[in-house]
């Protein structure tokens, strides 16, 4: 063999070695069992999660739980999960899932079927709608972890000052905003803040407006936009909130946090948001401490009563997990009564176990819990279908275009219908 091929063989071998080393460098652990738990950072005054994970480790010697943060927004989280689960790598064991993804992930075969592993009435203590959103095709795919329902927050001090009852309908709210702002003469005081940015939160807000108007996004039989006129009317109402100044112009860029901060700094009269915000409003140093209460979301004067959209997170086990029993044990631990109690007390997350809403210790710290439970039971879920994400991703830009004024609401609904027709054709 001449010198040349030997040298290049050596180089080749070195290169392959480097690459393999590099391949190994990314993500393999040896020794103790490591469970990877992916979850979104928890908002609140304290984060009880690390403590709960260490508790689990203490109860299971030789097991390490690595908590990894998900991207910030629901859509980015979904994209992250899809890209990775579709790629078939067993990167994580326990996943925090937005309840709207469970049917989709179950259908895709990414979740471990938990039905056979659960005791007969293990799910009885949870909210029925939470269990329903964790069920697909008659099987259970996740354990309900925390619960959400849309709420209308209001400034009790401002409403009391003008002798107003919390509004039931959009029309009442608009009138109250006008009155209060005219009297207060505070240019920094906004009326009604909500989430109008182009993301999942927008769909939730629009859905609640649809329901108030007596229509919906998807009917029982699967028809999308069964009543386009009413849907366009609801969108037009939301748009008018911005054009008339009842809601500030930045609403179209507002997510939960942006709107919460505005209200929490005392710059808004009404806020539509989730239960977690209450804890932050009642926290030490909050500008609105003691001045906030909540009620059901808005209805329409000649429409239906306001019904909050339900949501929340479930814990699922990856079907490709190398340690399914341990992963399920971790999920059980985190949804257990003590864990949910700790989360309800420390973080701003609402439990899925109904009994905790009447629990004296929790009610003492969060007096509004029983009221929250009633509203949660009355809440309505988003369409529980495996293609919900596709639905949402398709209508988001259309709703946003209508809100921003780039498209007329009727046109937005029509375009959304056409697109949905094309995309759903393949998956239904």
């Amino acid at each position: 063999m001449s010198p040349a091929p030997r040298r290049s063989t050596l180089a080749l071998v070195t290169l392959i070695g480097l690459l393999t080393l590099g391949g190994c460098a990314a993500g393999q652990e040896s020794g103790t069992v490591t469970l990877v738990f992916k979850y979104a950072r928890i908002l609140g005054n304290a984060d009880p999660l690390p403590g709960l994970l260490r508790q689990f480790e203490a109860a299971h010697p030789g097991v390490r739980v690595q908590g990894e943060a998900l991207p910030w927004t629901s859509d980015d989280q979904h994209q992250f999960y899809v890209i990775n689960l579709e790629g078939r790598s067993p990167g994580f064991d326990v996943m925090m899932l937005d309840c709207i993804w469970v049917p989709e992930f179950a259908r895709a075969g990414w979740l471990l079927d938990l039905t056979g592993q659960l005791a007969p009435d293990e799910l009885a203590p949870f909210f029925p709608s939470a269990v329903a959103s964790a069920t697909f095709d008659g099987r259970v795919w996740a354990l309900p972890w925390n619960f959400n329902v849309g709420l209308l927050y209001y400034r009790t001090d401002l409403l009391a000052k003008y002798g107003l009852r919390p509004p039931d309908t959009f029309e009442e709210l608009i009138e109250q905003v006008r009155r209060i702002r005219a009297a207060e003469r505070d240019p920094a005081l906004d009326g009604y803040v909500w989430q109008g940015k182009q993301y999942e939160g927008l769909v939730v807000n629009v859905l609640e407006a649809f329901w108030a108007g007596g229509t919906t996004l998807m009917a029982e039989d699967g028809t999308v936009f069964p009543d386009p006129t009413r849907a366009a009317d609801a969108l037009a109402l939301l748009r008018s909130l911005i054009t008339s100044g009842v809601s500030p112009a930045w609403t179209t860029a507002a997510d939960e946090e942006l709107s919460r901060r505005a209200f929490g700094d005392g710059h808004a009269i009404f806020l539509r948001n989730w239960p977690y915000a209450m804890d932050l409003f009642e926290g030490r140093g909050s500008a609105v401490r003691g001045k906030v209460a909540f009620t059901a979301v808005l209805g329409r004067a000649h429409g239906a009563r306001g019904v909050g959209s339900t949501g929340g997170a479930h814990l699922g086990v990856s079907r490709r997990s190398r340690h399914p029993e341990l992963a399920l044990a971790l999920a059980r631990h985190l949804t257990s009564e003590p864990a949910q109690r700790a989360i309800a007390l420390g973080a701003a997350l609402s439990p899925t176990r109904q009994a905790l809403y009447q629990d004296p210790e929790i009610v003492r710290d969060h007096p509004a819990m029983p009221q929250l439970q009633q509203l949660a039971l009355a809440g309505r879920p988003r369409p529980v279908v495996p293609y919900y994400q596709l639905l949402s991703a398709t209508v988001q830009p259309e709703f946003s275009a209508a809100l921003v004024g780039v498209k007329r609401p009727e046109r937005a609904i029509a375009d959304a219908s056409k697109r949905l027709g094309f995309f759903l054709q393949a998956v239904r």
């Binding site: 179209t252 596709l390 921003v404 697109r419 393949a426």
Partner: protein, 290 residues
Amino acid sequence: MTGREAADRRRALVCVAPTVVALGTLTVYPGIWVIWLSLQRRVPIFDVSRFAGLENYAFLMVDPRFWSSVRTTAVFTVGSVALEVVLGVAAALAIHTQQRGRRVSISLLLLAWAMPAVVGAKLFEWLYHPAAGLLNVLLGGHRINWLGDPALALPALILADVWRTMPFVAILCYARLLAIPADVYEAAQVDGAGRLATLTRITLPLLGRILLLAVLFRTLDALRAFDIMFVLTGGGPAGTTETLTVYAYRALFQMLQLGFGSAVSVVVFALVMAVAWAYLRLLRAGTVAA
């Protein structure tokens, strides 16, 4: 063929073998595969995988969001390239007039170019912050919502991209200016040409060919741009900064429509290839020095 030539041919084949294998498997093969994908309805999560012919393309033709992204891409490309050329030539001329400090000048310029597009995006996201952004402060404290206003988002994006890529054009022009022999200018001076005449009659025409090259490179880059709009605005608000590339990516990985997303990708592919082909034509016509 002589023995020497045959040996050379063999050597040549050995030399290009790794390249051919690499390009074949990772560029050409996927390039054909994506066209095949675009002719399918492919949704992995739902195990949908069937041949659909030109269905995706037919839908694209009547899809308002597609045409909106075409418009956005066009505005972005033309706007960016035009601004870059004007600013780039100005910067190159300015540096060329310097007697000392050229190295520092070029370093300052290259700072903007060397950083990753994502860093540039985060930088401008902070600059454009309605409350604390430098831009609003310098403009007198108005809370202009650069990235949230549908009328302002695209100009803001173009500005961010121009800032990052103008140095490339400037350096190309500067290098060309360096290569112009001094006696050309001396002759012009002897003929009594003023500075403006020198600029328009001598310098700019000599820059012409390199500018054409810069325009073509930058046009291709702008058509393919993805990082900066994806990270800065995500295509919002209301799709006003959603270029074809962002639309394709969303269709692929947010809606998981591999077939439809591939169709949009193929359109980008075709567009870029068309412009590249135009460049090759000019190249062969000898208009560009290469």
